[in-house]
């Protein structure tokens, strides 16, 4: 038999512990992406042309280049400017930045779906720009985008193994190092794959559930 169960039980605790790091990177990265994405989306709709154009350009550029190089870029370049961050924090920033350019599109679609009349009504009630955004538009715009944001959360979770490239000890890096020590990659890498599969299946099931519930309530 190729599969070794004794070895499996031996490496399982280490990998599950590393899952904590994976989860941490996912949640922190997503919090950053959620906030920053809203910034990009509103900047793109700004009446100042240059601001809208540069936000559009940045979002387009980041979206069409590989996360891995962005990760290397931050990892090697930030210290040159005297910003010394741990690999995990660097990774979280890169993930957050990359995915903010995806969430920006989601928010933009959400904002555009708010009926024009809502803007006009806010203006008729003499609300300030700020109040129009925070009280009228965003509460209506963000709610329908939740399932899409959930999908990007899952996508980001599946991109966390890239942090292995900048030495973060998340699941894949742990699995790889454990495998290298004993020259047995099969079990640790398979366990890692199974953990990813189970978590993302559960998560997508939850998102789908959320989606149908939202559809019914509307």
């Amino acid at each position: 038999m190729i599969w070794n169960w004794d070895y499996t039980w031996q490496v399982l605790p280490d990998i599950l512990r590393a899952f904590g790091v994976t989860l941490q990177a996912t949640l922190a990265g997503f919090a950053l992406a959620a906030v920053l994405g809203l910034g990009w989306a509103t900047a793109r709709m700004s009446p100042w042309r240059w601001l809208a154009a540069s936000a559009t350009g940045i979002v387009e550029f980041v979206r069409s280049t590989p996360l891995l190089i962005q990760l290397y870029f931050l990892y090697y370049v930030l210290p040159d400017y005297g910003i010394a961050l741990s690999p995990l924090v660097t990774g979280i920033i890169a993930l957050g930045l990359h995915y903010s350019c995806y969430t920006a599109e989601v928010y933009r679609a959400g904002i555009e779906a708010v009926p024009q009349g809502q803007w006009e009504a806010a203006r008729a009630l003499n609300l300030s720009t700020r109040a129009t955004w925070t009280r009228i538009i965003l509460p209506q715009a963000i709610r329908p985008t939740l399932p899409m944001l959930g999908n990007y959360l899952i996508a980001m979770f599946k991109d966390t193994p890239l942090l292995a490239a900048i030495t973060v000890m998340e699941m894949l890096q742990t699995a790889k190092l454990t495998g290298a020590q004993s020259f047995r990659y099969l079990e640790p890498l398979t366990i890692t794959g199974v953990v990813f599969l189970v978590v993302s299946l559960l998560a997508s099931w939850t998102v789908r559930h959320l989606e149908t519930r939202h559809a019914i309530r509307r």
Binding site: S64, L68, I69, Q70, Y76, P161, L162, K176, T190, F196
Partner: protein
């Protein structure tokens, strides 16, 4: 500036060639798998439906990098080891193919039911209905998401650098280690990816336009 380009550009172009090989090879494999799995998921036979479901869920539910490592480091335990380029094309194709299968399946599902019924009323065979009536209408719906997947595939080729294939990202890393021109080098590499992505996007849009025109005429 000129000196910088003279030092780095030839190597980067060499890396780009491998990146393009990965992209094209992966895309062709993905196209095949997406079509087969997308159709199989709608099949009335559970012997076709089940394997397709397992394939799509497994590859969409786990991380592309984990899949790559698994095929490169764990598969040899089953006596199957492949060169990095072959592994890269295979995993990129399997990964994008799983996402593509969903695109194919949902586009077919979005063709109105009446089209099937009309085909049956005209006494066409099931296969004839699928290939002559349904797919020509589903194809235009598949193209925009397929274009996005193609760009995601291009971005994912950077992952193959982590199994030591000297594509663009790997080459950039090697050049960086040799010269420490970190910022301009990574900026140039990102720019190359961005330009390739733009070319792919423009190409896909022209295919979309051509198909829309042809459909209008028919």
């Amino acid at each position: 500036m000129i000196e910088f380009l003279q030092t780095h550009l030839p190597a980067l172009v060499g890396g780009l060639r491998v990146t393009l090989q990965l992209t094209v090879g992966g895309a062709l494999l993905a196209l095949l798998l997406a079509t087969v799995a997308g159709l199989a998921r709608r099949s009335p036979s559970r012997w076709l439906r089940w394997p397709a479901n397992v394939y799509v869920e497994a590859f969409r539910g786990t991380s592309a990098l984990v899949q790559l490592f698994w095929f490169y480091f764990a598969l040899p335990f089953f006596g199957l080891s492949m060169p990095a380029l072959v592994t890269g094309v295979l995993v990129l194709g399997l990964n994008s193919g799983a996402y593509g299968a969903e695109v194919v399946r949902s586009a077919i599902a979005n063709v109105p039911r009446g089209q099937w019924e009309a085909g049956r009323a005209l006494n066409l065979g099931e296969r004839q209905i699928l290939f002559r009536v349904i797919l020509p209408q589903a194809l235009p719906m598949m193209l925009p998401p397929a274009g996005n997947l193609l760009i995601e595939l291009l971005k994912n080729t950077a992952l193959v650098s982590l199994i030591t294939l000297s594509e663009l990202t790997f080459t950039a890393q090697v050049q960086r280690a040799a010269t420490l021109d970190t910022v301009p080098l990574f900026a140039l590499t990102l720019l190359i990816y961005f330009l390739v992505a733009q070319v792919l996007a423009v190409g896909m849009r022209s295919v979309e336009a051509r198909i829309a025109r042809r459909r209008g005429r028919a």
